[in-house]
């Protein structure tokens, strides 16, 4: 007979309401992993629906999926690869922002790595657009900066 090792009583679920009005359920143990949610539970109690103004119905299910796997201790590299396989760069960005807002550390770290991997080989223009960065250099300033940075590549063979 398998013994229950955890000390939680029943598997309590918490209701979360997204910014666009949809309601999702998660286990209390998964909610613990999202510090923002846990803080709201501590303030508002676990019987009411927790409002998440900055997270929407498009991304919350994916986040719930991740933490569902996490509480059973099964997140492997394969699972993570599969998790992001069909997401485009913008979808990953949206998830990343949600993980940041929810203070969901594990997912945040994983998505940071994933964004870094995706951007590694992209052009400066692409990265600017991705981060919503306005190029506030004059053309002269920019070319001077590029020249200054050229020192980092002197004499080094490209490893691509």
């Amino acid at each position: 007979m398998a013994q229950e090792a955890s000390s939680s009583t029943s598997s309590k679920t918490i209701s979360l309401k997204t910014g666009d009005g949809e309601i999702f359920e998660i286990e209390a143990s998964a909610a613990k992993q999202m510090k923002t949610v846990q803080r709201l539970i501590d303030d508002l109690g676990d019987d009411i629906t927790i409002p998440l103004h900055n997270v929407f119905s498009k991304e919350l299910p994916k986040i719930i999926e991740y933490y569902k796997k996490d509480i059973t201790g099964e997140i492997t590299k394969d699972f993570e690869a599969e998790f992001v396989k069909d997401l485009n760069d913008d979808e990953v960005k949206v998830l990343f922002l949600a993980a940041n807002y929810l203070d969901a550390n594990k997912l945040f770290e994983f998505l940071s790595q994933n964004i870094a991997d995706r951007l590694e080989s992209k052009s400066v223009e692409y990265v600017r657009k991705y981060f919503g960065v306005e190029n506030d250099f004059t053309p002269e300033e920019e070319s001077k900066l590029r020249e200054e940075r050229a020192w980092s590549f002197r004499g080094i063979k490209e490893d691509e």
Binding site: K58, A116, V124, F131, V133, E142, D159
Partner: protein, 376 residues
């Protein structure tokens, strides 16, 4: 307002620390590029507490020299107030937390690995250290060398004496994740040279991954790990007290062509996941589990094991693979899945022998993953 435009605006509103965090996952050379994104980004890369250098094609000592120059220049430009003398002071003063230095000579046997800069060993702020292909000589005893180091990954490293290697480990009191592969010692050693380190301070170690290390790693120091991948070799038969009890171990990956595997299993009372693979580099004589005496059956097999994965290999005889799988299926009372990795040719024979074999666990599912047996 589109969902994506909203996201882009919000990402540009993120504080510098978060952007630096993303940058810490990119190789330093690419991170430097971001300084031309905009004025805000000119200096962001400098505040990333991680230096990550990978260079895969060091073919000559001149290449190594250029690489060292590059590393030095990066460290120097992070803080212009430092007067540069050598890499030594720069690494320490930059308060680096994450350091990956991966070098990789194409013809390793013809080139001598470069000496690890002594400053790396005095970089007390390190949290993650990953090194590949360096030579390390004298390591002085210093118990608080790396007081914050949680992850240590050493690959292709040559140490002068085994004491140098063990003293390095001794200086990592909060280490959680240890990966070792291809560690060599220039001076010869004997098995008892490691015994004095058995009570090493690796008490917080959670994960250990030790492969291609043909020396007598003090396994007692691994007693608290939760995840262990270890390549057993004959040298472990000389352990004076055998293996310790791995009271926290839930996941074990070990080579089954060394009969020490059963001994290890007997010391894992709470094991849930077992991965068995043959040692790939040398052709050991097959020594498989032949006795199924009740006394010798490891406790974990009957009481805690829920998943088992066995990997076939070209030099493994079908008979021994089946014997191994049936032994486990016969004893593992709470087994949920048994997965065999083999090629399609052998699959049908394995399946026909195993699928009708009586299983101790009513919920046990048998599944197959197909691989090319000539893969390493």
């Amino acid at each position: 307002m589109s969902h994506h435009k909203l996201a882009t605006d919000r990402i540009s509103g993120l504080p510098d620390e978060i952007l630096c965090h993303i940058l810490s996952f990119i190789p330093t050379k690419q991170a430097i590029f971001t300084s031309i994104l905009s004025k805000r980004w000119i200096h962001l890369w400098r505040h990333v507490p991680a230096l990550y250098f990978i260079n895969k094609k060091l073919n000559s000592s001149q290449d190594i020299h250029h690489f060292n120059q590059f590393v030095k220049a990066v460290l120097h430009s992070r803080d212009n107030s430092l007067s540069s003398h050598s890499i030594n002071n720069l690494a320490v003063q930059s308060k680096i937390q994450y350091l990956h230095l991966y070098l990789h000579a194409r013809l390793k046997c013809e080139t001598i690995p470069p000496k690890l800069p002594a400053s790396i060993l005095s970089c007390t702020t390190l949290v993650v250290l990953k090194l590949s292909w360096f030579y390390v000589d004298k390591v002085s005893p210093f118990p608080l060398r790396f007081p914050s180091l949680k992850t240590l990954d050493l690959k292709d490293m040559n140490f002068d004496k085994c004491q140098d290697f063990m003293l390095l480990l001794d200086g990592c009191p909060v280490l959680e994740d240890l990966q070792l592969s291809y560690i060599h010692f220039i001076q010869s050693f004997r098995h008892f040279d490691f015994e004095q380190f058995e009570n090493s301070s690796l008490r917080k170690l959670k994960r250990a991954h030790i492969t291609d290390c043909y020396f007598h790693f003090p396994v007692k120091a691994l007693a608290n790990v939760e995840f262990l991948r270890v390549e057993l070799w004959k040298g472990y038969t000389y352990l004076p007290d055998g293996f310790p009890t791995f009271h926290n171990l839930t996941h074990l990956a070990v080579n089954y062509d060394c009969n020490l595997a059963v001994q290890v299993l007997q010391h894992c009372p709470k094991l849930r996941n077992l991965e068995l693979y043959p040692k790939l580099k040398y052709a050991w004589r097959d020594e498989y589990i032949t006795k199924d005496d009740e006394e010798l059956v490891p406790i974990c097999l009957s009481s805690s094991l829920t998943t088992c994965t066995i990997r076939d290999f070209v030099s493994t005889t079908l008979e021994s693979l089946i014997m191994l799988a049936t032994f486990i299926m016969k004893k593992a009372r709470v087994l949920k899945t048994m997965t065999i990795w083999s090629n399609r040719k052998r699959f049908s024979e394995i399946e026909s022998k195993l699928s009708s074999f009586p299983r101790a666990s009513a919920t046990c599912q048998l599944s197959f993953q197909f691989i090319n047996l000539y893969d390493t």
